[in-house]
């Protein structure tokens, strides 16, 4: 759910006015970015790995309906049950009814963005089911009553002192703020929940069509506990997260941990195929996979935005984004923050105006596209989203400006237009009499003036300068 239009601006301002937030987020994304840089230091190898992963994901999306059908068949052949949920409401209804039917009262959950997307916890709690998030970061934000602000580090915005306060409140005992104490506390408290839980709910990094398996990459081990201890296991799978076979899964394992945390492989990587076999003494007795559409089919039809379905939610694009580093995840207002959120949210939720303005949360520096292990052209899609927004907005002037800006990006043919634009800017540049006059009639301009001035226009354009330089070179060469 998104807050109303205009709020992105307000939320960003609020975030910028909280310097501690900026420091916490920036410090961590910087570290993650460096770890990824080290893990991807071998440029040739990285290129090969990314090409293989991109190919596997592109192929999977191209034949998604077929793979979904194969996954369903193979998963059910191994004793799993597959459900299709067209939207959030039906997904939560399926889960609630499955839990009720099995008499499950206490649920432990692994980290899953899809369950955030459908706001599962609220729905389950409304049905009288106790839900405990068990990923340390997710538990922290559950205790705080917040939403994740990063795809893989949901509590990135929390300091150890915030966390200590939350844990002291939950446990009723005083704690010190050392990482060791806080982790030991979480281990002890959550262990009790694991051992008492009737059902486990997890997400899925990938589903393998050929074998009907679910693949989970985790570091803490809570993912293993959630999928091993309770008698019932519900998996929430985003409809697009399929790979064809184990070879493709291996290709994904080569890129996902490196892009996400700079690890060669996460501490745990589990491949789950059906419920426990006869005679096994742990593992769930029943396994249900709930496949969520919730706008993804529409994305499949949208040729330009279709590559977004390749996304493996590694968060590399967040960690390099200068806008994300400043405003943090909550400012984006939806489930998915950062560049991927800015691209994904408006297409998943076309009816929500607020989602569209996320496209403005970009400097178009393209660092996101460069970081993406599956080659999603995020910056181009952001421009495209802006263009779509422009055609939706009735203001003709804005549309014109956008067209000029876009054509400016297209290269030489538009050169004339951009020259004209330079002329306009020169006349209207900060400090000119025309500009001052205009600001009087257009309060919007005056307001923006208070925050930033139009850049000073150099006497010569780059192209003119370049020509002159080359001419100089040539004369010298002669």
């Amino acid at each position: 759910m998104l807050t109303p239009e205009g709020d992105f601006d307000a939320r960003s301002r609020a975030a910028l006015a909280t310097p501690a937030l900026g420091r916490a987020v920036r410090g961590t994304v910087d570290r993650l970015r460096n770890l990824r840089a080290i893990a991807e230091a071998d440029a040739d190898l990285t290129r090969q790995r990314r090409a293989a992963a991109t190919e596997a994901r592109t192929r999977a999306i191209d034949k998604l309906p077929e793979l979904l059908e194969r996954f369903t068949r193979n998963c059910e052949a191994r004793g799993g049950v597959v459900h299709r949920a067209p939207d959030a409401a039906s997904a939560t209804a399926i889960a609630t009814s499955l839990l009720r039917k099995s008499g499950a009262r206490r649920v432990v959950k692994g980290k899953s963005m899809v369950t955030e997307e459908i706001e599962l916890n609220a729905a389950l709690e409304g049905a009288g089911i106790e839900v405990t998030e068990t990923d340390l970061g997710e538990w922290i934000i559950q205790l705080a009553g917040e939403k994740p602000s990063h795809i893989i580090l949901p509590a990135i915005h929390k300091t150890r002192h915030d966390i200590r306060a939350l844990f002291e409140k939950e446990g009723g005992t005083p704690l010190d703020a050392s990482t060791t104490t806080l982790c030991a506390h979480a281990r002890r408290r959550l262990r009790e929940r694991f051992l008492a839980a009737d059902a486990g709910i997890s997400g899925a990094n990938f589903a393998v069509a050929e074998t009907g398996s679910i693949a989970l990459f985790t570091n803490e081990g809570n993912g293993r506990l959630v999928t091993s201890l309770p008698r019932l296991h519900l998996v929430f799978l985003g409809m697009e997260r399929l790979v064809e076979n184990f070879a493709d899964l291996a290709a994904m394992a080569e890129v996902l941990p490196r892009a996400a945390t700079g690890q060669d492989l996460t501490s745990y990587f589990s491949i789950i195929t059906g419920p426990r076999h006869r005679g096994e003494l742990d593992g769930p007795e029943a396994l249900h996979v709930i496949i969520l559409d919730n706008g993804r089919s529409r994305l499949l039809e949208d040729v330009a935005f279709r590559p977004v379905l390749r996304c493996i939610r590694c968060a590399a694009c967040l960690n390099v984004c200068p806008v994300y580093a400043e405003i943090g995840g909550h400012a984006y207002g939806g489930t998915y923050p950062g560049p991927i959120g800015a691209v994904l949210t408006p297409v998943l939720r076309p009816e929500e105006h607020a989602a569209r303005e996320l496209a403005d949360a970009s400097s178009l520096c393209a660092a996101c596209s460069e970081a993406c292990p599956v080659g999603i052209p995020l910056d181009e899609l952001l421009i495209l989203q802006r263009a779509r927004n422009a055609t939706l907005r009735p203001k003709r002037a804005l549309r014109l400006a956008l067209r000029i800006a876009l054509s400016g990006l297209m290269g030489d043919k538009a050169h004339g237009t951009s020259r004209r634009l330079r002329f306009v800017a020169k006349v209207l540049g900060a400090g000119t009499p025309q500009r001052r006059a205009l600001a009087k009639v257009l309060p919007m301009l005056a307001r923006s003036e208070a925050v930033r001035a139009l850049p000073v226009i150099p006497p010569q354009s780059f192209r003119e300068l370049w020509k002159a330089l080359q001419a100089g070179e040539n004369t010298r060469a002669r």
Partner: protein
């Protein structure tokens, strides 16, 4: 069958990657040496209860002492028993040299909990089962007869959720020790 220099190279790569991931490595020539090392580690860690997988080469490795009880994981009726154990000892189907990863499969004789609930996990890995890559390990499984869970373990449990300060053992084991049988003693 790999020639010994290649096998040794794979072992070295595995050991390096494992240690990088925070795991511990011991190369032992044979089962008798493995038993000595395992019992020493358990003694040093003051472990009073040990879960042991019911597989050849593992089930007889750990000896009970006055301070230490040993139980076969396949006989456990209540999962709390695992949670109270100070260590779990398992075998491994394979090791992946590129990442220092142990490959385990859930089964009747090898429950998931042995390598998961106790704070110390000791794995016995036959050096002959070390392969180069994940893809090579995958090739050892038949698509139509997969275990209910294939578990890849790369070092101890870790989290960076508190100010990205890396910590071990938040939910899974704090220590992962691999004993590799090199076959040098046979």
């Amino acid at each position: 069958m790999l020639a010994e220099p290649e096998a040794a190279a794979l072992r070295t790569r595995f050991a390096d990657a494992l240690v990088r991931a925070g795991g511990e490595w011991f190369a032992v020539p044979d089962a008798a040496a493995a038993a000595r090392v395992v019992n020493d580690i358990l003694h040093a860690a003051c472990v009073s209860s040990v879960a042991v997988d019911d597989t050849p080469g593992v089930r007889t490795l750990v000896t009970a002492t006055e301070q230490r009880s040993v139980f076969l994981s396949s006989t456990v009726q209540n999962k709390h028993r695992f949670a109270e154990a100070g260590a779990g000892v398992t075998g491994a189907l394979a090791g992946i040299a590129a990442t220092g990863t142990l490959v385990l499969a859930a089964s009747r004789s090898t429950p998931r909990s042995t390598s998961l609930l106790p704070p110390l996990h000791i794995a016995i890995l036959d050096g002959k089962d070390i392969v180069g890559t994940l893809a090579e390990s995958f090739a050892r499984f038949a698509a139509h007869a997969l275990p209910s869970q294939i578990i890849h373990i790369t070092g101890p449990s870790r989290t960076g959720d508190i100010e990205h300060d890396l910590t071990r053992g938040v939910h899974g084991p704090q220590r992962v020790v691999v004993l590799c049988l090199t076959g040098a003693g046979s």
